[in-house]
């Protein structure tokens, strides 16, 4: 850092500045532009000129203004103090910026990603003389009731600890020292920094086998996502994409949530910012914010910082993964990110690919989603309790692997709802789950407006074993049966539309009624109703069971001579329709509903017999 190289501005065109004289700088180095020191990043080098994308408004910058290179790439600071923080796209804490400049963001302000003043209680778990390598846990900081930060040796560093102390430290105080094999001394800090565009290393990736439970029925039952998996939500505007994402953030069983508001609405971000602190984490009773990191780069904030924001977010997610946590990262919206790439590519006068997007769009998207996954992390040290079965292996001394995961849910906002556009198509090539939001469903106020016919999850077969073990033997087959009924309904609906419902055979009419029940009483879910926003897997299974029981009894009773109209008017249907609002501890009511079905869905003759 001793010799900061200085150059001068040659050209300014919006967020793109071309500088001269930065000969020793490298691609993606961070620079400061102008007297105000606006943050920027080198994204192209031609001869002695380099192009810089600037993360702040460039009005007033002109040729001749100074440009100073920091000699380091854009990095984030990782350590205690991230939980509950709200950052912009380049990890400046927004509350610190507000304290400095007021309600409006002005230029050239900077603030470190981690609070330099705050002191943390550090409890050392490694001791002097220990040989450690990158990823090894040397101690713990209890950041809050939900998250304990496991302080790790930064990747790439290895050696012997020559001193380490428990105590109270700021993130920049050395808590110990490490001497590497060449004899060089390195201070051990509570924080480390990592370049955002480089994936953090891990030992190996694992196959996925655990569901990311969201409590949203259409997702968990029909199109499940796994821990470490990747999903995509497209959505024409107004289809309820954002609500679905908030639901996942609130209710999913991941331990850490990273939410990136990338080029989205300010008011929506405010909603997240105001709602999260009030939300109670259903799993611990603590505020949800205590396990959440927010990156907010709204649509009117500088476009270059928007481009950086997804990298900032996923680097933080990887850091928690490396501690052994399961993390869910939501990027809303990757289309805005792609548009930021396009905008910058256009300013660079690059040859465009499809629809003006840069030719490397697909590569960048794939590389981003590939940073998701379930991994065996680097290093040794206690994994979080409960994550790994405590069963002792043959060699009791063998270190247990630390396992962490990052699941990514990226939303796309296709223009005009056109799924054939490049961002969606390039995304679908890499994601495994697709929740097809439909505006037509939203118009009918069918929420979540996830189209059950067009959505898919390629994880179904991977999850079946888990379901059988933890939910119910028949959950998968019930799910498949319901899916089949819904599929049949869509075919029959075509016919009914042309020739009328009455032209269908009675069996087919029963299918239509059951499918309607599945749609209205299972798939539809009100995110704003306390008694409907979360449904456990066990209850989802029970609901399916009751609905399918209704279907079978209706078929049987009809064959036994019952009138269709009587069957469809059975009073139990009202109870069945409201079963989704039952509290989790009232599952016995579903048993009553089932016995109601048994008694009410019978033919007249049979009923007489029962009496």
């Amino acid at each position: 850092m001793a010799d900061l190289e200085q150059g001068r501005v040659a050209k300014v065109a919006g967020p793109l500045v071309v500088a001269e004289g930065l000969v020793r700088s490298r691609m993606y180095d961070l620079v400061r532009v102008g007297d105000e020191g606006l943050m920027g990043e080198i994204i192209e080098m031609r001869g002695s000129r380099c192009s810089i994308q600037v993360y702040e408004e460039t009005e007033g910058i002109g040729p001749g203004d100074p440009v100073v290179s920091t000699g380091a790439p854009l990095s984030v600071e990782l350590g205690p103090g991230m939980m509950g923080a709200v950052y912009d796209g380049v990890q400046r804490p927004l509350d610190a910026l507000e304290a400095k400049t007021g309600a409006f963001l002005t230029r050239g302000v900077s603030a470190p990603g981690l609070d330099r003043e705050r002191r943390w209680d550090f409890h050392a778990t490694a001791s002097e003389g220990d040989r450690v390598a990158g990823g090894d846990i040397i101690g713990i900081v209890e950041e809050n009731e939900l998250i304990s930060q496991r302080i790790m040796v930064p990747p790439g560093l290895a050696g012997t600890i020559t001193g380490i102390h428990s105590g109270t430290f700021t993130v920049t105080d050395p808590v110990g020292t490490l001497v590497d094999d060449s004899g060089a001394e390195h201070p051990l800090l509570l924080m480390q920094s990592w370049p955002v565009r480089v994936p953090r290393p891990y030992r190996r990736k694992l196959s996925l086998d655990e569901p990311l439970v969201t409590g949203t029925r259409v997702i968990d039952t029909f199109f499940p996502l796994l821990k470490g998996g990747v999903a995509c939500i497209p959505g024409p505007f107004g289809a309820g994409k954002t609500v679905t994402q908030h639901q996942i953030a609130k209710w999913s069983n991941a331990e850490v949530v990273v939410f990136i508001g990338c080029g989205e609405r300010g008011n929506e971000m405010t909603d997240v910012l105001m709602e999260f602190p009030e939300l109670i984490d259903p799993y611990s009773g603590e505020p949800l914010m205590k396990r959440t990191v927010l990156v907010a780069n709204t649509s009117n904030m500088p476009v270059a910082a928007r481009e950086a924001s997804v990298y900032t977010g996923i680097t933080m997610a990887e850091y928690f993964r490396d501690m052994g946590y399961s993390v869910v990262l939501q990027a809303d919206s990757t289309s805005r990110w792609a548009e930021a790439m396009r905008e910058i590519s256009g300013r660079l006068e690059e040859m465009p690919g499809e629809e003006g997007f840069p030719a490397y769009l697909g590569t960048k998207l794939a590389a981003f989603y590939e940073r998701a996954g379930k991994v065996v992390t680097l290093g040794e040290g206690e994994p979080p309790a409960g994550e790994v079965p405590a069963a002792s292996t043959a060699e009791d001394d063998a270190p247990r692997p630390r396992i962490g995961s990052v699941s990514v849910v990226g939303s796309v906002s296709p223009p005009g709802g056109d799924l054939s556009e490049p961002v969606v198509q390039n995304t679908l090539r890499v994601v495994k789950v697709f929740w097809a939001l439909q505006d037509t469903l939203a118009f009918q106020r069918h929420f979540p407006a996830i189209d059950w016919l067009n959505s898919y999850s390629l994880y179904l077969d991977k999850i079946t074993a888990y379901w059988q073990e933890h939910v119910g033997e028949e959950y998968r087959s019930r799910r498949d049966r319901c899916m089949e009924l819904l599929q049949r309904e869509s075919e029959l609906a075509e016919i009914a539309r042309l020739v009328g419902v009455d032209a269908l055979s009675p069996e087919e009419q029963i299918i239509m009624e059951t499918a309607k029940t599945i749609r209205e009483d299972f798939l539809q879910q009100n995110a704003f109703r306390d008694d409907d926003q979360f449904t456990s897997l066990a209850k989802q299974d029970r609901l399916l069971k009751a609905i399918l029981l209704f279907h079978e009894r209706a078929l049987a009773a009809f064959q036994d001579g019952a009138e269709l109209a009587d069957l469809f008017a059975a009073p139990v249907r009202e109870r069945l329709a409201r079963a989704k609002y039952l509290a989790e501890d009232q599952m016995h009511v579903l048993g009553e509903i089932e016995s109601d079905i048994e008694t009410q869905l019978v033919s007249e003759g049979r009923r007489g017999g029962v009496r």
Binding site: A10, K11, V12, A13, G14, V18, E57, T58, E59, G60, I61, G62, P63, G64, V86, L94, E98, A103, F104, L105, F237, G238, T242, G261, G263, R265, G266, N267, E268, M269, T270, D271, L273, M274, A296, T298, S299, N300, M301, V303, E339, A340, E343, G346, E349, P352, E355, G356, P415, G416, D418, F443, Q444, R445, R497, V499, G500, D502, E520, F528
Partner: protein, 470 residues
């Protein structure tokens, strides 16, 4: 620090390329003087060493390379703000147009504004009563929201916007002074005159600021006009504690002006020739709506845009919809059937309504009732489509009820007079009366308690109406 040059090399469309300049900065304000004496303002779009690319707001007619004087003013574009702006009419660049005196500004502020820090924003959750049932009842507007009207040529969007401007009131706590900022971009004199007359008739003009760039004004000037209006709005809202409603029309012309400049710069075009940064550019306008913690005022925006061929997937409505918090869509079929306001209820949406309605804001049953009305209307429309194919006799009993509901809904709930100002109680009352047309078992989206509380009164009312009629 002003510098004057006569070194223009190229003139292309609204752009001038000026050589041998020194100390020019990006975004700098420029004054141009053409050989025939015409003057124009402009700003710097790009500067490369000693060459500056300038966009002329008044166009380049009358200019030539060798005799055009280009003065760089050493500052960005600003607007002088003051409370005295209220009641005044300005041109698209903020100069008085009503023959009145110049404003003595309290200070000058950059028209580009600064993004509001997301942590400083306060969430919009206060209901604005527009007096229009299809908006208040189903897609309510809240203070600090941006809710565009998607319309088509020939539809009464101006009447609707004017009705909102006239009738909009804030109720309850913190109901402060209300102001309207109106920005016209490329609309005809007649349309602008309509707004001014409407505002004058109700004396609302006293609390209004108008920025007019009309169809015969220079197109490129339109790029600055909404920014002028929003800068005035920010001053009134966040420094004078007023609730400001910004209406701007027509965003389509604004976007076309952007496209014109982009094409002249030979930029790589995005969809339909619009520049790739259209989203970001629109966001810098729309996102200036909102509330700020600790400030009493608010900015609510109603941008109006006419969709080319009523196509909502056209880039302008499409990108707008991604930034704004919902949209009010006007429907040509309803308009043809003589329903005013022709609000297409089903595809319209107010994303912020959840927080702005309910107990303490409007009424406890508001959310459930509006959900029910939506669902029933959607089903009624479906039933009617079915009836077209199969004949009404083929409809089930329930479907017949829903079809009748849909007709009644359009006639009594959506339709209202241009000067009919309904309170939210009245709107919800009509909704409940319509709900009586449905079998009670179908009211699945309303909590039982609300059905018990509100349905009997509505039933009694419906019976009374029926008896009065007979």
């Amino acid at each position: 620090m002003e510098r004057e040059y006569m070194t223009t090399r190229d003139i292309v469309g609204p752009l001038l390329l000026v050589e041998d300049v020194a100390d020019v900065t990006y975004g700098e304000l420029v004054e141009l003087e053409y050989p025939d004496g015409t003057r124009s303002l402009g700003n710097v779009l790009e500067v490369n060493e000693d060459v500056a690319l300038v966009q002329a707001f008044q166009g380049t007619r009358g200019s030539n390379p060798s005799q055009t004087k280009v003065r760089f003013l050493g500052k960005g574009m600003t607007l002088g703000v003051s409370r005295d702006m209220l009641g005044r009419v300005f041109d698209g660049l903020g100069r008085p147009k009503d023959g009145g005196p110049e404003i003595l500004p309290e200070r000058r502020v950059s028209i580009h504004g600064s993004p509001i820090n997301p942590t400083a924003r306060d969430f919009p959750d206060d209901f604005i009563q527009t007096g229009i049932s299809s908006i208040d009842g189903l897609n309510p507007l809240v203070r600090g929201q941006k809710l565009p009207i998607f319309s088509g040529s020939g539809l009464p969007h101006n009447q609707l916007a004017a009705q909102i401007a006239r009738q909009a009131t804030v109720t309850g706590e913190g109901a402060g002074q209300f102001a309207v900022v109106f920005a016209a971009m490329g609309i005809t004199f007649e349309d602008a005159d309509f707004f001014m007359t409407e505002l004058r008739q109700t004396a609302a003009i006293e609390r209004s600021v108008l920025f007019l760039n009309l169809a015969d004004d220079p197109a490129v000037e339109r790029i600055a006009t909404p920014r002028m209006a929003l800068t005035a709005a920010e001053y009134l809202a966040f420094e004078c504690d007023m609730h400001v409603l910004v209406i701007y029309t027509d965003m389509t012309y604004y976007c076309e002006a952007l496209r014109e400049v982009s094409a002249a710069r030979k930029e790589v075009p995005g969809r339909r020739g619009f520049p790739g940064y259209l989203y970001t550019d629109l966001a810098t306008l729309y996102e200036r709506a909102g509330r700020i913690k600790g400030k009493a005022g608010s900015i609510t925006q109603i941008p109006i845009l006419t969709m080319p061929e009523d196509d909502k997937t056209h880039p302008i409505p499409d990108l707008t919809g991604y930034i704004t918090e919902g949209q009010i869509i006007l429907d040509r079929n309803l308009h043809r059937r003589g329903v005013y306001p022709p609000v297409a209820v089903l595809p319209s949406l107010s994303r912020l309504k959840q927080k702005g309605i309910g107990e303490g804001k409007t009424r406890e049953d508001h959310a459930d009732l509006s959900n029910q009305l939506f669902g029933a209307y959607a089903r009624g429309i479906q039933a009617k489509e079915l009836a077209v194919i199969l004949g009404e006799a083929a409809l089930s009993e329930a479907d017949t009820a829903f079809a009748a509901f849909a007709d009644a809904f359009e006639d009594r709930f959506i339709r209202q007079g241009e000067h009919d100002d309904r309170t939210i109680e009245e709107t919800l009352g009509i909704g409940w009366e319509l709900a009586t047309l449905l079998p009670r078992g179908e009211l699945k989206r309303i909590k039982d308690a609300y059905v018990d509380r509100y349905l009997p009164a509505a039933e009694a009312m419906a019976v009374k109406v029926a008896m009065d009629a007979s």
